[in-house]
């Protein structure tokens, strides 16, 4: 059930870095996070676009997408049904936090709530980081935009995809849950390739 959500959360964490305090992109202290300009070849761009498509497949896998839904309710399972307990961002705002059930480890049996440290969560209402239903181009643009990704620089994005426990969770989602279609190491490489190429987005 929440394995999906977990996956989604992972991705979210991956892409968002800190969801808790996204800074507006136009704040001056943000500017140092912009990558230094660096020559990028046409081949790099092509490789970067291809790498993004790898990343995209992961982002839209249930483990990642379920916590990045188009609505306010996280999704369950591999069929993307809304959380069966009427759980949504409204629940969190009203005192039912994700960690009420999603604790530090996955539940031991299928359909028990997945969990991970540091913390299970969804993107905030202000920066919902929707993956569900997004085209590769649109999601790519969203992913690299610090105004929409929780203020992450490209290198922070790569770091997030490569090492964040919430991201890594997707490949260890607990019993009964599918994992993303690509091994994590491949995602990490794709993230490096993409960000090194200046994060080009497919048309």
């Amino acid at each position: 059930m929440n394995a999906r959500a977990l996956g989604a959360g992972l991705l979210a964490a991956l892409t968002l870095g800190s969801l808790v305090s996204p800074a507006p992109a136009d704040e001056p202290e943000k500017s140092p996070r912009v990558e230094a300009a660096r020559p990028v070849s046409i081949a790099d761009v092509a490789a970067g676009e291809a790498a993004y498509l790898v990343i995209h497949r992961v982002l839209l896998s249930p483990r990642c997408m379920n916590c990045h839904p188009s609505g306010d309710a996280p999704l369950h399972g591999d069929v993307a049904v809304p959380h069966s307990m009427n759980v949504s961002r409204k629940s969190v705002e009203a005192g039912l936090v994700c960690t009420t059930c999603h604790r530090s480890k996955n539940g031991a049996v299928p359909h028990s709530p997945p969990g991970v440290t540091p913390e299970w969560r969804m993107p905030t209402r202000d920066q919902p980081m929707v993956f569900q239903g997004k085209s590769p181009h649109d999601l790519c643009e969203q992913l690299k935009d610090p105004a929409r990704n929780g203020g992450k620089s490209l290198s922070e994005l790569a770091e997030h995809m490569g090492h964040d426990p919430l991201v890594l969770w997707a490949w260890a989602p607990g019993p009964g849950r599918s994992v993303p279609p690509i091994p994590h190491a491949e995602l990490a490489r794709a993230a490096e390739t993409w960000t090194h190429a200046g994060a080009p987005c497919p048309k």
Binding site: E93, A94, T100
Partner: protein
């Protein structure tokens, strides 16, 4: 294995049990706090809801090791100076039938009112739909939540 210490209802306790033991069974069997109920064992019913550091937690999913050094509040500790207004509202609306889910419903409601002192029906559904009642007391729970909010005068 070293004992794990935490606070239950304001009292310091120290438990010698594996750290992955569900908090639920520590409360019920080691500490005798049976007001926290076992319903499903996988966070599907909410009957085992307690508070850890003022946030609601399903005690069947929380492991003993996770609460080391933390403050745990159970139904027994809720109204230490008489009944909590939520409990009073429950009595006034004659909510319980079999009563088995009500500890969890009440703990969930206290957490709700802390964040939403004047909850709408939608707020109530957003939090308490994660708590099952087999007897079907939902109509009354909803009324009792509103009543409790009134009693508490909108102060979280």
């Amino acid at each position: 294995m070293p004992n794990i210490s935490f606070f239950v209802n304001g009292r310091a306790v120290s438990i010698d049990a594996p750290e992955d033991t569900p908090l639920l069974w520590i409360l019920r069997e080691e500490l005798g706090l049976t007001g926290t109920k076992f319903g499903c064992g996988m966070a599907l019913c909410g009957a085992c809801t307690v508070h850890v550091e003022d946030l609601p937690v399903r005690a069947c999913m929380a492991r003993l090791g996770e609460v080391a050094g933390k403050r745990v509040l159970t139904i027994e500790g809720l109204g230490q100076n008489g009944l909590h207004p939520v409990q009073e509202a429950w009595l006034e609306e004659n909510v319980p039938q079999c009563g088995y889910c009500q500890s969890g419903q009440i703990m969930g409601t206290v957490a709700l009112l802390r964040k939403k002192p004047k909850p709408t029906d939608e707020d109530i559904d957003a939090v308490l739909s994660s708590h099952l009642c087999r007897c079907g007391t939902y109509c009354r729970i909803r009324r009792a939540v509103h009543r409790a909010a009134e009693k508490m005068g909108g102060t979280p």
